[in-house]
């Protein structure tokens, strides 16, 4: 990987860019040529004399006619004709063109033949074509015709042919050899960005990345940046991209889009949206990465913006995969899920390897409760890119719905490994672990989730519940206390808290109930009483609160009659407000239990409302105290 970021010699870079552009264009690799020239316009201020750029050896005169014809046919997508006319040529450039055309032809046929139920059957003709192409490439590259042979020939030193070899191997999932071929290809012709991109899809983790033998070339910075982004190492990616930006590529659309992606991954939604806006201002007709932009707008629920984006991209090019994804997101935000699915399907028909469409389609199918289809989509997404944590997470969810906890746990674990510091993954993993009764692991997950910044604020509660089910009552109580305190704080921040999260309120009520019960069992009647009163604040636990209070009163009375002396300090310790309520309740004689509930209702409520005002601050103080006292385990945990 990178040791340090060395200053770029922009003049050399520009020369390289021109050379690479010529090489790629001459081979019909238009995508790569586009990328290279995108970079070049950032360096337009640097003048390079064409003679300074070293040119490739030209195609010999006797073959130039065929070469030109082949190039034109390739551009016009008449692949088979292209391959036919240069079928016997030996020149490396023509050999590459021929095989490239054959590859594209088989890909085109594959896409054309693709139907809904194309579960890539084993004897499909496209697969056979690919296998045949692989055999002939093996023959060209290794001489012996076997994958394992290593006889070097003139063709084996042609970086572009190796690149194609790598692509075909990758298509056939012979990953190890694909990586080898691509690395070789990159070392021979580093300017072929396509090869780097293909390689990036084969790198599964950081360790593998650092073990790749890559040339020390300026283009490597772009690759490493790309890789960091894929591996969710967003900070590191940003660092590289910022460096590149400062070195002279500040206008490059690609770079800016990548930076926006990094912010998107970091969940810095605002900055990411801003970046995309700027990018659109500068390069309004660029459709790449617009799918991500639409995701951002979707997450922010910026309907108008999303609608505008959908309209403008469909004006640019209606039949581009990115456009279809934007439109799909637009429909999804409008809750028209089946239309969204159609859009995503169209995107995939246009570009079968379009990752985000697969994942998003999975989400849509989940919305439509079509679990099987969702699962298929997610699986495809993983096929396309092993590193897509959303797809792994989605699969985990589908299995959860299908009540297959082992599978769900496995997939959540994958998702979590890909995105180690996302609390959502951790919580999901924890839940799954609970389901397969690995409580210890579940607990670890929740603790970690809490430490990495619990986005949905559920870790604590889950942890508390888990401790409770496992019988660690004290731990559970501590955690509930903390949760209660936190919720109170949140409620006070959000004002009256009436609107904020109905489920939160329910959970809070349950927490109070638990605490009340807990302290009652512990014999800490003061505390128990206080939480009982808290319970009365909530509709859901009102009845239980009352019942508890009653039993508390009963208990207290018993204690009072049995041992007057012991009761004394308790009343002393309690705060005045608490004391009041307690005294009121203790004053309520036992007979009240016998009497009708209706008679009891009104006074209690009034009491409760009295207490409520001083309550919160006090309670938070107390619970904070208690947490720090109990040698605060969760804090120790941070890895």
């Amino acid at each position: 990987m990178l040791e340090e970021l060395k200053k770029l010699d922009l003049r050399e870079v520009k020369k390289d860019l021109i050379r690479g552009y010529n090489e790629c264009l001459g081979r019909g690799l238009s995508e790569t040529a586009k990328w290279l020239s995108e970079l070049r316009i950032s360096l337009s201020s640097i003048q390079v004399n064409p003679s300074e750029v070293e040119a490739e050896p030209a195609v010999p005169a006797e073959e130039i006619d065929f070469y030109d014809l082949a190039r034109t046919l390739l551009e016009l997508r008449e692949y088979d004709r292209c391959a036919h006319f240069i079928s016997s040529s030996e020149h490396p450039k023509l050999v590459f063109l021929r095989n490239w055309a054959q590859f594209l032809a088989s890909e085109k046929r594959h896409i054309d033949n693709m139907t809904e139920a194309s579960a890539s059957s084993q004897h499909s003709p496209c697969l056979q074509e690919l296998r045949d192409l692989l055999s002939s490439l093996n023959l060209l590259i290794n001489g012996t015709g076997s994958i394992l042979g290593s006889k070097s020939s003139a063709q084996s030193r042609d970086g572009y042919l190796l690149y194609l070899h790598g692509i075909v191997l990758k298509k056939l999932k012979v990953r190890q050899q694909a990586v080898e071929s691509l690395v070789k290809a990159i070392n021979i012709s580093p300017l072929n960005w396509g090869a780097w991109l293909e390689l990036s899809q084969l790198v599964t983790d950081r360790c593998m990345l650092s073990n790749l033998k890559l040339p020390n070339h300026w283009i490597k910075y772009f690759f490493i940046g790309h890789m960091y982004l894929e591996l969710q190492m967003n900070e590191e990616a940003l660092e590289i991209y910022m460096f590149l930006k400062e070195s002279g590529f500040e206008k490059c659309s690609y770079l800016n889009a990548q930076i926006a992606l990094a912010y998107h991954n970091k969940r810095d939604v605002e900055i990411a949206v801003e970046m995309f806006r700027k990018l659109l201002d500068y390069d309004p007709y660029r459709l790449e990465n617009m799918d991500t932009y639409s995701n951002l707008l979707y997450v922010k629920e910026m309907r108008a913006e999303l609608a505008h984006l959908a309209h403008s991209v469909s004006e640019v090019d209606k039949y581009r995969a990115e456009t279809c994804v934007v439109i799909g997101n637009f429909y999804s935000l409008r809750n028209e899920h089946s239309k969204a699915v159609q859009s995503f399907q169209r995107a995939l028909r246009l570009k079968p390897n379009f990752l985000s469409a697969w994942t998003l389609m999975g989400h849509e199918f989940m919305e439509l409760k079509n679990i099987n289809a969702a699962m298929k989509s997610y699986r495809q997404a993983i096929e396309v890119n092993w590193l897509d944590y959303r797809a792994w997470y989605g699969l985990g969810q589908t299995y959860e719905i299908l009540k297959m906890p082992q599978f769900s746990q496995y997939h959540y674990k994958k998702a979590q490994a890909l995105r180690p510091n996302d609390s959502r993954m951790l919580i999901a993993l924890g839940e799954a672990n609970e389901k397969v009764e690995k409580f210890k692991d579940a607990m670890k997950c929740y603790y970690k989730a809490r430490n990495v910044g619990d986005i949905e604020r559920t870790a604590l509660l889950k942890l508390a519940k888990l401790h409770d089910t496992m019988g660690h009552k004290d731990n559970a109580a501590e955690l509930y206390l903390e949760y209660a305190a936190e919720s109170q704080r949140m409620l006070s921040i959000e004002g009256n808290g009436g609107m904020a999260g109905g489920s939160d309120r329910v959970e809070l009520a349950r927490a109070y109930k638990y605490l009340a019960n807990h302290f009652l069992i512990q014999g800490d009647i003061e505390q128990a009483c206080m939480y009982c009163n808290k319970c009365l604040e909530f509709e859901e636990t009102k009845e239980e609160g009352k019942a508890l209070l009653r039993s508390i009163a009963e208990k207290r009375q018993k204690e009072e009659t049995a041992n007057m002396l012991i009761d004394m300090p308790v009343t002393e310790e309690s705060t005045p407000a608490d004391g009041q309520t307690v005294s009121i309740h203790s004053a309520v004689p036992v007979r009240l239990q016998m009497s009708g509930l209706s008679s009891l209702e009104s006074p209690n409520v009034s009491v409760q409302s009295n207490v409520a005002t001083p309550g919160p601050a006090d309670v938070t103080n107390r619970s904070d105290m208690s947490l720090t006292d109990s040698d605060d385990t969760p804090m120790v945990l941070s890895p």
Partner: protein
């Protein structure tokens, strides 16, 4: 024809007197000349007239010849037999018998052949002297003798007496070493095993020294050897120019190499190329084979010798469209040839319509009872629909017709194996092996039956020797088609507990034939047995991605997942990356479940499933011309 001759014919009354010997002789010449111009009607008319006049056996013979060509076989035979000439003159015997053979009167034909045992050593005595040719050499006698033997063989064969027929063919060939038809019949109809072929070649060798010059002997040797057995074991077929293929096992003819030019010219003969293509086909090098057959058919669009191989290639590549065109052209041109209907049947086979396929294939077999490829394809059409019994019947028929070919026996064995009758299968495989001891297909299938019988040691031996045969041939294309062998050997290794070797072989198979679901499933199983659960899960997922309905992978994936959650093997128990070393003391709880040996408890049943899958796959692969 002059008017004066007509004038003379007008007076039939005094025929004998008025017609001079010269005139008769000139009419004989006229008959010959019409005959050579294929104007048989005129020839027959005049021959009949001359016959009436002279009643000379010679003239009768010629009349019979003309009638034969007019396809009036019964008349031709009758002319001779009514005069009992077939008992005295060999040529007449031949024509009469041949005519009856053509008229499908095999019994009568054979009676005529048996009626006279002519002694050919007394050259030229009782043989009709040819009036146009001055010489009547021993050469002609030999040819005639050979022709009569050949005819006898054909009659016997038509009668179904294949053993004697084959003997007669051999005799015919040894009598006249240039009688290629006899040789071709022996080879094409697969009458001899490779051992017998070798024996025949040895006998031919001794005949050559007496019958022809050294130079000629070399040429004959070259041509015959090129045509010999192609199906017993894969051999290295040199690419480049086809001329090399001819002498691939004749090392002795160094002298002949000197006249390299003419030899090269010889190898450009389409027959030689067709033999070459057949070899390539057997080596599974279908691409090159198709190239060669295409080349042949470009020069000679209806080269019958190469068509079966060409059709086989088209079937192999599923080229339904090309097959359709070819079949149409053939049926239009040769509606009476078996090969045409064979092509039609193959077309329907390729597009998966078994009923018409069977109909046309059986038509092909009706036309030519001895057309082996049609019988085999007929069997395939049943086999592909799991109609084992009918397939077996068809293959069995083929095995009776193609005594020297092991393929039908192999298929019968395969089908019996598929009906779980391994004992019977083994019997057939053993027979097949007797015919072709080194054939990797046979070795492979024997391995499979041993595997099914749980005789893993033997299975290993069979698979390994098959592998050795293949690797000897050193052809990448071949290896690709042998991917099932790699997998099956890996299954055996797994059963024998050699897990790393098994894994390696599976992976080799995968690199030969990428994206194969059952290979992934097998890899998953091995990984599971090795305790590499995480990898196993990934493999099973991969397998299910390729074969979504595969119950084996589904079951195994379930087991793997269970094992993963229960048992912390190789880091699988880690809840997530970067987990804390341990829980805080107050929260710790003891939590132990399962023992490490648990994931090894894998049911044995599914593995059978797996091996069967690859057999089925292999079966589809092994279609032959």
């Amino acid at each position: 024809m002059s008017d004066s001759k007509y004038e003379k014919m007008k007076t039939p009354a005094d025929f004998e007197d008025s017609i001079s010997k010269e005139l008769i002789q000139s009419y004989r010449n006229i008959v010959r000349s019409y005959y050579e111009k294929h104007l048989y009607k005129s020839a027959a008319f005049w021959a009949d007239k001359i016959m009436c006049i002279t009643n000379d056996p010679h003239d009768i013979y010629w009349n019979a010849q003309c009638l034969y060509h007019l396809k009036e076989f019964q008349r031709a035979a009758n002319i001779i037999t009514s005069r009992n000439l077939h008992k005295t003159i060999p040529q007449c015997q031949y024509v009469a018998s041949k005519s009856l053979f053509e008229a499908k009167e095999y019994h009568d034909s054979l009676t005529i052949l048996d009626s006279l045992e002519f002694d050919y050593t007394l050259a030229g005595k009782s043989i009709l002297s040819d009036t146009t040719k001055t010489e009547n050499t021993g050469m002609e006698c030999v040819e005639l003798h050979s022709a009569i033997l050949l005819l006898k063989a054909q009659v016997l064969q038509a009668n179904g007496n294949r053993v004697r027929a084959s003997e007669c063919y051999r005799e015919a060939l040894l009598t006249d070493i240039r009688c290629h038809e006899a040789f071709d019949s022996l080879v094409r109809l697969q009458m001899l095993t490779s051992v017998e072929e070798q024996e025949l070649m040895d006998r031919l060798e001794s005949q050559m020294s007496s019958q022809c010059s050294a130079e000629e002997a070399n040429m004959l040797r070259l041509l015959y050897r090129g045509q010999l057995k192609k199906y017993d074991k894969p051999r290295k077929v040199p690419d480049a120019s086809p001329d090399q293929s001819i002498d691939h096992n004749s090392t002795a003819d160094v002298r002949y190499l000197e006249s390299n030019d003419s030899r090269f010219q010889l190898s450009k003969s389409l027959d030689c190329k067709a033999w070459h293509s057949e070899r390539l086909y057997y080596n599974c090098d279908y691409h090159r084979c198709l190239e060669v057959t295409n080349e042949i058919l470009k020069l000679d669009p209806y080269h019958l010798g190469c068509l079966p191989v060409h059709i086989g290639c088209l079937v192999q590549f599923n080229k339904a469209n090309d097959l359709f065109q070819l079949a149409h052209r053939l049926v239009k041109l040769y509606p009476e040839e078996a090969i045409s209907w064979y092509a039609v049947g193959c077309y329907y086979f390729v597009i998966g319509k078994s009923d018409p396929a069977r109909r046309y294939l059986s038509k092909a077999t009706m036309i030519d009872q001895l057309f082996g490829p049609a019988w085999l394809a007929y069997g395939h059409s049943f086999a592909s629909e799991n109609e084992h019994d009918q397939a077996m019947a068809a293959y069995f028929r083929a095995s009776q017709l193609m005594k020297g070919c092991h393929l039908p026996l192999l298929y019968v064995g395969l089908e019996s194996g598929l009906t779980n009758n391994t004992e019977l299968a083994d019997k057939f495989f053993t027979q097949a092996r007797e015919i072709a001891p080194c054939d990797p297909y046979v070795l492979h299938e024997m391995g499979v039956t041993s595997f099914l019988d749980d005789d893993f040691q033997n299975a290993k031996k069979c698979f390994e020797s098959a592998l050795a045969q293949i690797q000897e041939s050193d052809s990448r294309r071949l290896e690709e088609n042998w991917e099932p062998l790699f997998n099956n050997l890996a299954h055996v290794y797994r059963k024998l507990g050699k897990l790393p070797e098994a894994l390696q072989l599976h992976q080799q198979a995968l690199s030969l034939q990428p994206l194969n679901g059952s290979t992934y499933a097998a890899i998953g199983l091995v990984q599971m047995l090795m305790g590499r659960l995480l990898e196993a899960v990934e493999s099973f997922h991969e397998a299910l991605g390729l074969k979504p309905e595969d119950s084996f992978s589904t079951t195994m994936l379930g087991y793997a997942m269970d094992a993963l959650t229960i048992d912390p093997v190789d880091g699988a128990g880690q809840p997530f990356e970067g987990e804390p070393a341990e829980l805080p003391a107050s929260l710790r709880c003891s939590h132990q479940m399962g023992s490490p040996s648990e994931p090894l408890m894998i049911p044995q049943q599914p593995t059978e499933d797996l091996s069967e899958l690859s057999i089925e796959y292999e079966m589809q692969d092994a279609s032959s011309p």
